[in-house]
Structures are given as structure tokens and as C-alpha cells.
């Protein structure tokens, strides 16, 4: 009997997913023949909200785009605004920003390592990696005051200084973490179960990685030597020496090795930053009103390249802010990776790009599958669509509106 095609929907609410997102898998037996992603369950209207707030307020709003790479987004926006305003950030400010960026990379990669272990049923790795992550979280709390949403960036520099007594604490934590990471690299390269489980899963060839525009560790694990920190240096990266870690495995195993390698590079970078920390002010005063102009900022977030576009019109509020998080670049690659793979590999392949769907969900656009035309829904049309949809379900808003009115009037 020939195998029938089965359509399987995963999400938006599913134990496998940490955030709501919908995946439609077409299966033939156990093999996946096609996968489509439906984004939009996490849309929060951040770009529009940015336009209604001042630049100072936007720094905090953008920091909350993502819970893990909060420093990435705020630093990327700060860099973009500084470019428009022509601000020269003091060197010490750049070094402190870069330090926090690398600490965040360690925190993000250790978190990913734990999640990857969890997705393949290797929960010991989750416990180990997350225990070590506490060290870097504590360091971030000492520097910035908070474990997440550090608030270290301000337009024109860094917000908080590094005191001399913090430096030995950071170095001690980095030493311990380096020992632990060496052990993980040992486990990653020697442990048979891990290697066998991850090898050949989620294949993405070098050509496909370039064609699909993948970013970050996903593209570097396919043998593409691409890293914004080296290609377009920002912060203090131009003055620091580090290697771009690449791997030719082109699968989830390669992505694990790239992230572990990047952890080692991050320790190297932190030691260099703390050794060469320049003296001087940490920030310069930025004007409230940013002169008219536009700029694109690039930043290598732990998950890949983060791109921000800002258009200023001379007031204290931006005219347009566009954010592109790395997951949006990688999500098409996931559809390709899953093709011809097994259903059981879906969790780890999706987790391997370190997805952040709340970073990804931005615009409302509907594509008509018949003619391929993309329509944007304006607010009144969206409202009518919503009311019609609910009245088809048997919910009438006329009665509710009347009740609401009487409630308001009686108050």
C-alpha cells in the first residue's frame, strides 16, 4: 500500500515550542516532504510603538524585543542613532558595550546548549549548561544590576562603568566557564550518543545557506566565513583579535561545535577587553532631537546578524524604525533543513537555529496564494474583518457594545 500524505500542524501552542508559532508539516510516512512556517502569533507592534516614543524611550522598548539578546537590540539601535547624529562614542564606552555583548553571547550560547540537550533527551546537559550559565548571569547582574534587560546602553555610550573590583570577579568567572566549556567540547567531540544523534540531522549545504540568506552560527556551521564583528567592525571589535569559528559538518552537530567554539572566542575577547580597558569617560551627552537622516545598523547577535534601520526627521521621535532579527533570516533555512528529514528530528532542527519568534514577528502582510499579491491590511479593514469573523462564530458585538456604553454612562 503506498504511503498516504499526512498534514500535521505543530503549534501555535505545542509543548515542543517555547513561543507560539505554527508549522505545517506534510508527511509521507515518517519523512517530511514539505514544511511551511506561519509567523505572526507574537506580533506586538513594536516598530509602530517606536515611532510614537522618543529616542530615549525607544532604547528601553527595543531592549524588550527579545529576552535573551536584549543588549544586542539596544546596542544596534544606539549605534544606528549615533550614526545619524554623528556622535563619537568614547572608547571606554565602546569597550564596556562590547564586554556586555560578549557576556551576553556566553549566556545565550550556554542557554542554547542546554535547550539542544533537552530537545534530544539529554537532560543532564541541560542541567550542566544552565548551572554554568548562572555564573555569567551573576556577572551580568554585578555589572548592570539586572540578570536580563541590562539597560547598559544609552545613546552616546554606556550607562554604567566597570569598577576595578569587578574585573577580578569577571575574570574568575571566565576562568571557571572556560574549564567547563573545554569539558563540553570534550563531550561534544567524544560522546558517541551526542555525535550520532546530531550528525546528518538538519542538513544545510553551503550553497543553500548562502541562497536562503541564513545568518549567525547557522551559516557558519555550513562552512560560510561570515561574521559582522569582523566584516564590518563595530564597538571595540576592530581593535580586538579573535577568530571566526566555522565548521563544515553542515548539520546540527556542526552548529553545536560552532557555538562551543564561539564560547571559547568570547572568553578570549573578554580577557582582551579587560586588559586593554581604556580610561576616560563612558558616554557623551546626546541631543534629544536627532537631525534628519537615515542609517542602517548591523550587529552580530548571538543568533546571527541583527539589522536595524532608523529614519530620523529632526524631532525627538523617529519617523520609521525597522528591526530585522536573525531568526527571520534563518526561518526559511529551517524549512529547507527539515525537508526529507524525519518527524522526530523536528524539535532539534527548529531549536538548532536558536529561534526567537517574538523577535521575528513584525509586520502584518497577507499574501494571496492565487495571484501571489501581497496586501497590507489597514486598521479599518482589519477591524471589519475581525467583526465579521466573530459574527460568523455567533458572537454579536452590538449587544456587548450596548452594555459597555451603559456601563460607561453609569460611571
Amino acid at each position: 500500500m503506498p504511503e498516504r500524505e499526512v498534514k500535521l500542524t505543530i503549534g501555535p501552542q505545542h509543548p515542543m515550542l517555547k513561543e507560539p508559532e505554527s508549522f505545517l508539516l506534510t508527511l509521507r510516512g515518517e519523512k517530511i516532504t514539505e514544511m511551511t512556517v506561519r509567523l505572526g502569533y507574537n506580533h506586538r507592534g513594536i516598530e509602530k510603538a517606536c515611532e510614537q516614543r522618543t529616542y530615549i524611550q525607544d532604547m528601553y522598548l527595543v531592549e524588550r524585543v527579545c529576552g535573551i539578546c536584549s543588549h544586542s537590540h539596544s546596542m544596534c539601535l544606539a549605534q544606528t542613532i549615533e550614526e545619524i547624529a554623528g556622535l563619537q562614542v568614547p572608547k571606554r564606552g565602546l569597550y564596556i558595550r562590547t564586554l556586555v555583548a560578549e557576556l551576553e553571547r556566553i549566556h545565550s550560547h550556554l542557554l542554547w546548549l542546554g535547550v539542544a540537550g533537552h530537545e534530544i533527551g539529554f537532560d543532564t546537559l541541560l542541567m550542566y549548561a544552565w548551572r554554568d550559565r548562572e555564573l555569567v548571569m551573576d556577572i551580568l547582574a554585578i555589572i548592570s544590576g539586572n540578570r536580563v534587560n541590562y539597560g547598559m546602553n544609552v545613546i552616546g555610550g554606556a550607562k554604567r562603568d566597570i569598577t576595578p573590583d569587578q574585573i577580578p570577579q569577571i575574570l574568575a568567572a571566565v576562568d571557571t566557564l572556560e574549564e567547563r566549556t573545554k569539558y563540553y567540547i570534550h563531550v561534544g567531540t567524544e560522546e558517541i550518543t551526542l555525535r550520532e544523534r546530531l550528525s546528518g540531522v538538519g542538513k544545510l549545504s553551503k550553497e543553500d545557506a548562502i541562497r536562503l540568506g541564513a545568518a549567525g552560527p547557522t551559516v557558519r556551521a555550513s562552512g560560510v566565513d561570515r561574521d559582522t564583528r569582523r566584516d564590518d567592525p563595530y564597538g571595540a571589535y576592530g581593535e580586538l583579535s579573535f577568530d571566526v569559528v566555522t565548521d563544515n559538518h553542515c548539520d546540527v552537530y556542526g552548529r553545536t561545535l560552532v557555538r562551543l567554539g564561539e564560547l571559547m572566542q568570547a572568553y578570549k575577547l573578554i580577557r582582551q577587553i579587560l586588559k586593554n580597558l581604556p580610561e576616560g569617560p563612558i558616554a557623551i551627552k546626546a541631543p534629544r532631537k536627532i537631525p534628519a537622516g537615515q542609517a542602517i545598523g548591523r550587529y552580530e547577535a548571538p543568533r546571527g546578524e541583527d539589522v536595524h534601520y532608523v529614519k530620523a526627521n529632526g524631532t525627538d521621535k523617529p519617523e520609521r524604525v525597522k528591526l530585522r532579527a536573525p531568526t527571520l533570516a534563518n526561518v526559511q533555512a529551517v524549512a529547507h533543513m527539515l525537508k526529507d528529514g524525519y518527524l522526530a528530528d523536528t524539535p532539534i532542527v527548529i531549536a538548532a537555529i536558536d529561534p526567537c519568534f517574538s523577535c521575528t514577528d513584525r509586520a502584518i502582510a497577507t499574501t494571496n496564494l492565487d495571484n501571489g499579491r501581497t496586501d497590507r491590511m489597514e486598521w479599518p479593514a482589519l477591524r471589519t474583518y475581525g467583526i465579521d469573523w466573530y459574527s460568523k462564530q455567533g458572537i454579536d458585538f452590538a449587544e456587548l457594545n450596548r452594555k459597555l456604553r451603559t456601563m460607561r454612562e453609569s460611571n
Binding site: 530615549i56 555589572i143 544590576g145 539597560g151
Partner: protein, 128 residues
């Protein structure tokens, strides 16, 4: 890497270790120095310039005049995102972030707190 019994030493060590969790309500971990918790308002320093209101990302703070050159601060702790931008903005250092983070309330209304003496008579007191 097939070495049976390799974990035994770790298991034995873990058996005699103290638990890593802390008995939270009884034992409190001190907050880091830069921690940004509930705000403190120094009424006598406030000049009513309302710069904090302008910069607050979530419109959580309201400065209201109560008498001659006397102001109170109304802070909605539920709206506040504890970024301490108002502390940085204040030109007279009338606001300060404290390490107080235990702000949970059973009633939503209690999260709206008024800092400062509300009587219009000028009394120079420091309020928390």
C-alpha cells in the same frame, strides 16, 4: 567515550553537598549594587520640571504640585519597568532606585503609590 561508572564520584559528591537552592522568604540574597528596584523620592529636592515624566518609557510616574514649590510623585508600580531612566534624567537627583523588589500586592489599586507629603504646608521632610 565509553567509561562505565564515571559518574559515580559526582553522584557521591552530590549526595553530601548542601542544596544550592536558598530558603528564600527566610534567607534573602542581597541584590547587586546597581540593582534597580522600587523608587525613592526626595520631595524637598524636586523642582517640578517633569523631565522624569517626559522620559518615562511607560508613563508610570506623575509629578503633581500640592503647594507652593512642593510636589508629590505618583508612581504606578505595575506600569513601571524599573529601568531607572527617571533617576538618570532628574537634574536635582530627587529620585533614587532602591534594592526593594518585593512589590507584590493582592489588590491592583495598592500598586499605585504616592511618594511625598500631600499637605500643602511646606515641611522639609525626607520621605520614602
Amino acid at each position: 567515550m565509553f567509561r562505565p561508572g564515571k559518574m559515580t564520584s559526582q553522584v557521591l559528591r552530590s549526595l553530601f553537598k548542601k542544596p544550592v537552592t536558598s530558603l528564600y522568604p527566610f534567607v534573602k540574597t542581597p541584590m547587586p549594587k546597581n540593582f534597580r528596584g522600587k523608587l525613592r523620592f526626595y520631595q524637598e529636592r524636586c523642582i517640578g520640571c517633569k523631565m522624569c515624566m517626559r522620559d518615562c518609557p511607560s508613563a508610570a510616574i506623575t509629578i503633581k504640585p500640592v503647594g507652593d514649590k512642593k510636589f508629590i510623585a505618583e508612581i504606578d508600580l505595575a506600569r513601571c519597568l524599573y529601568c531607572a531612566q527617571c533617576v538618570d534624567t532628574c537634574p536635582k537627583k530627587a529620585l533614587e532606585a532602591t534594592p526593594d523588589f518585593e512589590l507584590a500586592q493582592l489588590e491592583h489599586g495598592k500598586l499605585k503609590v504616592v511618594f511625598g507629603d500631600t499637605s500643602p504646608v511646606s515641611t522639609k521632610t525626607e520621605t520614602k
